[in-house]
């Protein structure tokens, strides 16, 4: 009998951090790691680490810790990093170009295969060998190429119109950098990035006035 387990979003958010830490350990030639060492790095308790992994079957910890290579591989599979995900970038401004140049996405199996904009003067330019095409040709592009994810890096004012087009074209994943919370139909996954949230957290931590209660 199989039982479906709903895994909490907080656990999912920790997986990339485990994965990054395990990548570093592998590079340093470390072969085993304890839940205690993992917990210090991630900022949770050792028991939370074991609970996190238990959601996925436990990864067979022995008395002396987890096998780094195996754990790295399994978490990678859960995150879908064993298959290449294809992406298009909508908006070739500074942020769009910065993301197109970002070296780490492809290492993590997220490959940019097209960049789109509406400004005629930059159409045809290349970024890391990827051509900037006109947004009007996105529809044809999607017919001829499998696209998993669209990255939205257009101004706030165009974001909703772009979202509409993308959804109609059947793209199922959206990574949105326009400063607006985009919402789509249930079958479309949207990850809204709010850079200023993390800036506010930094501001808070810098001041860290301990709150006093009467």
């Amino acid at each position: 009998m199989s039982v479906e387990i709903k895994v909490s979003g907080l656990v999912i958010k920790r997986l990339p951090r485990y994965y990054r830490y395990l990548t570093n350990l592998k590079q340093m030639g470390i072969t085993r790691v304890t839940s205690s060492d993992l917990s210090k790095k991630i900022g949770v308790t050792p028991s939370q680490v074991r609970q996190d992994f238990f959601n996925f079957g436990g990864f067979g910890m022995q008395g002396y810790g987890y096998d780094v290579e195996f754990l790295h591989q399994e978490i990678g599979k859960i995150l879908g990093l064993n298959e290449m995900n294809t992406m298009v970038i909508i908006g070739a401004g500074n942020l769009g170009q910065a993301l197109a140049k970002h070296e780490n996405f492809e290492k993590r199996s997220f490959k940019t295969i097209g960049i789109f904009d509406t400004r005629d003067d930059i159409i045809g330019e290349q970024i890391r060998g990827i051509e900037i095409m006109h947004f009007g040709s996105l529809s044809d592009f999607v017919k001829n190429n499998h696209v998993d994810i669209a990255i939205i890096t257009v101004p706030k004012t165009s974001a909703c119109e772009v979202l509409d087009t993308i959804i109609k074209l059947g793209i199922k994943g959206i990574w949105n950098f326009a400063p607006i919370d985009l919402v789509g139909p249930g079958e479309v996954e949207i990850e809204n990035i709010h850079l200023s949230d993390s800036l506010m957290v930094l501001g808070y931590n810098m001041k860290k006035k301990p709150f006093t209660q009467m």
Copy 2:
């Protein structure tokens, strides 16, 4: 007698999201909001919302909800948004320029006052009226201007050297976009941004293969 309360990092991370939602409510002319409505938007239980706020004294919820204007103001104060924070950007590549142009930071009281790079061909250029200066002149700039936060948008290979310089100059907050976990002395707050983490979460959610256990 006053008691210091240590507020959990998870609560702090929710504050910007409450703040953004309350900003939207204010713009829409909404004057009161219940913990139930807040909880739906933030994705926690109503009881968690009340617990979150209780860390800061509770914000005086009445039977019919919280006062939007008051709650917005108080959370803003906790995040330090009632005082302007000054920032410099180190690295005027695409990402540095995109952040310099980002309209929302200044609205949230985070103002960029200088941009620094080492590439002679762009020194003297202006972005939103802010001059790109040589990294060698950062020391003089910091002597003459109060700088709260340095944003690091240089390649991974220069990040540690840049961090060293920034720390020696006495800057206490660092927002790091170089794809490496920077660590500083205890008195320096560092927020490391890993964009690919959120991409991996998106990848996971898109696939959301329910995990089956025997």
